[in-house]
């Protein structure tokens, strides 16, 4: 079993081949089949690629990620392999190109072991919305791994791959990272190209990594980052090195008063938060509460805007160009309607309907336009916080993983994103670090958010926190 890239590299040094490492992962995936983390294991191509990397190692020209075996969320394209966004509507679809983020990892000789289950079109917070069944949390299989990148979180937590890729639109990397005791980052909007990521809400979506160490997270995020001509929203800013350099520089840390006082927070989560605040203060950092009276508005704003974008993005699934087509439909319109109604699951249909509603002529101003204005208010207020502080600290989630089928109400499920959605609304980077366990042994995360394009500072401060708290 290999828990992280350092263990893989030390095995390589002691003479173990990439193929042997791959075989050990394949065996483990088979043993943990009950988690339903993988929708498909690329048994043949991963072995071929392992052999190819072994050759390169022998020849002395292997890339920085030689030996790394990755799992990819089922909404990230990998040429010549199936991708379905965990939806029936993409039945049989095979990627015609590889996502830029993934391509950059492959160029450094990482290899892909398979595609990972998720909520359909990344819409969900429990991975129960997959057309191919829920994923189970490896730390307690009665509970969910979080979502939407539930398979990616479970696979890393159970050591079924070295790292995995996910996507985060409202918390879909950080919330599952919190539930599974892994590291998960949502980089700044524009930091990593979205080319080849199946779009859900384009002004929110970002690709990011799940890892078992902070070091691995910084490494793969650095490699994936940077300008891509195929995504005009990707930033032309220089990336630089994200390699961890813990510093004892004194920082200014804000915590959101309204989040801190939120009712219904699990006591252990709150206690650990208090402990972190006290220790940071004792260590000479400035830690202060700030008022951000928008907590109740963030999730509704997110749903107005993200469903609107989803209704537009998902109009491409029409039963004509690719994927599932309803049988016996007569004419074009019926083909569209029947294919979409049979192909999309209930949560996706709910969001398309809500999004179409807020974009419709009569309601556009009151909902969609209003949502964009509230988003501006949130961004302005957030910028003001970062004028005075280096980091904003919150729990990632108010509680640990819940049991399967425990949350049936859509609105209650949407509130899972209460602390994470902020970073997506404003474009800031945010990371979830494993920082505590409840009395029953289930993990929860600490979320650190920083100013746009300060991933390096985010990683360095996280590294400092690790030395201070031995988080893992």
């Amino acid at each position: 079993m290999y828990k992280n890239f350092a263990e893989v590299k030390s095995a390589l040094t002691s003479g173990v081949s990439v193929l042997e490492i791959t075989e050990s992962y394949l065996k483990r995936i088979e043993e943990y089949k009950n988690l339903n983390a993988f929708l498909e294991v690329f048994t043949d191509s991963v072995r071929e690629n392992a052999l190819r990397v072994d050759e390169k190692i022998k020849a002395g020209n292997a890339g920085r990620l030689a030996g790394m075996v990755i799992g990819v969320k089922d909404n990230i394209c990998y040429k010549g392999h199936k991708v379905s966004a965990s939806s029936k509507i993409l039945e049989g679809f095979e990627s015609l190109y590889t996502a830029t983020a993934l391509e950059r990892l492959l160029n450094e000789d990482a290899i892909v072991i398979g595609r990972l289950n998720c909520d359909e079109f990344a819409m969900g917070s429990s991975n129960e919305n997959s057309a191919f069944g829920p994923v189970r949390n490896p730390l307690n299989t009665n509970t969910v791994p979080g979502g939407s990148s539930g398979g990616s979180a479970a696979a890393v937590a159970a050591n079924l791959c070295t790292i995995s890729l996910g996507s985060d639109t409202g918390g879909s990397i950080r919330q599952p990272a919190s539930f599974t005791g892994t590291y998960g980052i949502k980089p700044t909007y524009g930091r990593i190209s979205r080319y080849g990521l199946i779009a859900y809400a384009s002004s929110f979506d970002q690709i990011g990594a799940f890892t078992n160490t902070l070091e691995d997270n910084a490494l793969v995020t650095e490699i994936m980052s940077g300008k891509d001509p195929m995504d005009s929203t990707s930033t032309s800013r220089e990336v630089g090195s994200f390699a961890l350099t813990p510093t004892d520089e004194k920082k200014r840390i804000a915590y959101i008063q309204e989040a801190y006082e939120m009712e219904g927070m699990q006591p252990e989560v709150k206690e650990r938060m208090d402990e972190v605040i006290a220790t940071l203060k004792a260590d000479g950092h400035i830690v202060e509460p700030v008022s951000f009276p928008y907590l109740d508005y963030m999730v509704p704003t997110y749903y107005v805007l993200s469903t609107a974008e989803a209704s537009s993005n998902l109009s491409r699934f029409d039963g004509v160009h690719y994927g599932y087509r309803a049988k016996n439909a007569v004419g074009v319109e019926a083909t569209y309607k029947k294919s979409r109604s049979e192909g999309f699951g209930p949560e996706v249909q709910r969001r398309i309907m809500a999004g179409t509603f807020v974009l419709s002529n009569e309601f556009y101003e009151a909902y969609y336009s209003k949502g964009q204005k509230v988003r501006r208010v949130l961004q302005t207020k957030t910028k003001a916080i970062f004028a005075d502080f280096d980091f904003v600290l919150t729990p990632t989630t108010p509680a640990t993983a819940f049991e399967l089928n425990a949350v049936n109400d859509p609105i209650q499920m949407y509130l899972q994103d209460i602390f994470t959605v902020h970073a997506n609304l404003t474009g800031n980077p945010a990371i979830s670090l494993p920082y505590g366990k409840s009395n029953d042994g289930m993990p929860f995360g600490l979320q650190l958010m920083s100013a746009p394009f300060t991933e390096k500072a985010l990683y360095d401060f996280s590294a400092y926190l690790e030395t201070k708290f031995q988080l893992n």
């Binding site: 909007y189 509704p300 029409d318 979409r340 109604s341 909902y367 509230v374 609105i411």
Partner: protein
């Protein structure tokens, strides 16, 4: 906000979805709850605030208009549920019985 059956039918048509029976009842209830949840936004004062539309700080991302090979004709048709050698195929729109 109250969502009636007429609104559901209208939005469903715009979204190219169809609901009937129990399914229609369920989506009507869900929409009403979701829209009511969204109504919270009206409490935020946005007087004089410009909508935030673009999240990227890149401006005028321009490039030369250069022809490059991306997908081949064959690749573009590869994932179609029904096709012939050149085109996507859809079910018949007209049948003899219509006239």
């Amino acid at each position: 906000m109250h969502i009636d059956e007429k609104v559901v039918d209208h939005i469903a048509h715009l979204a190219r979805l169809e609901f009937s029976g129990e399914g229609k009842k369920a989506i009507q209830i869900d929409m009403e709850r979701i829209i009511t949840f969204m109504d919270k936004l009206s409490e935020v004062d946005t007087t004089g605030v410009e909508p935030l539309i673009f999240m990227s700080d890149e401006v005028n991302v321009l490039r030369e208009d250069i022809a490059v090979d991306s997908l081949t004709h064959e690749e573009a048709l590869k994932n179609a549920p029904k096709r012939d050698s050149d085109y996507f195929r859809i079910p018949k729109v007209l049948s003899k019985g219509n006239f």
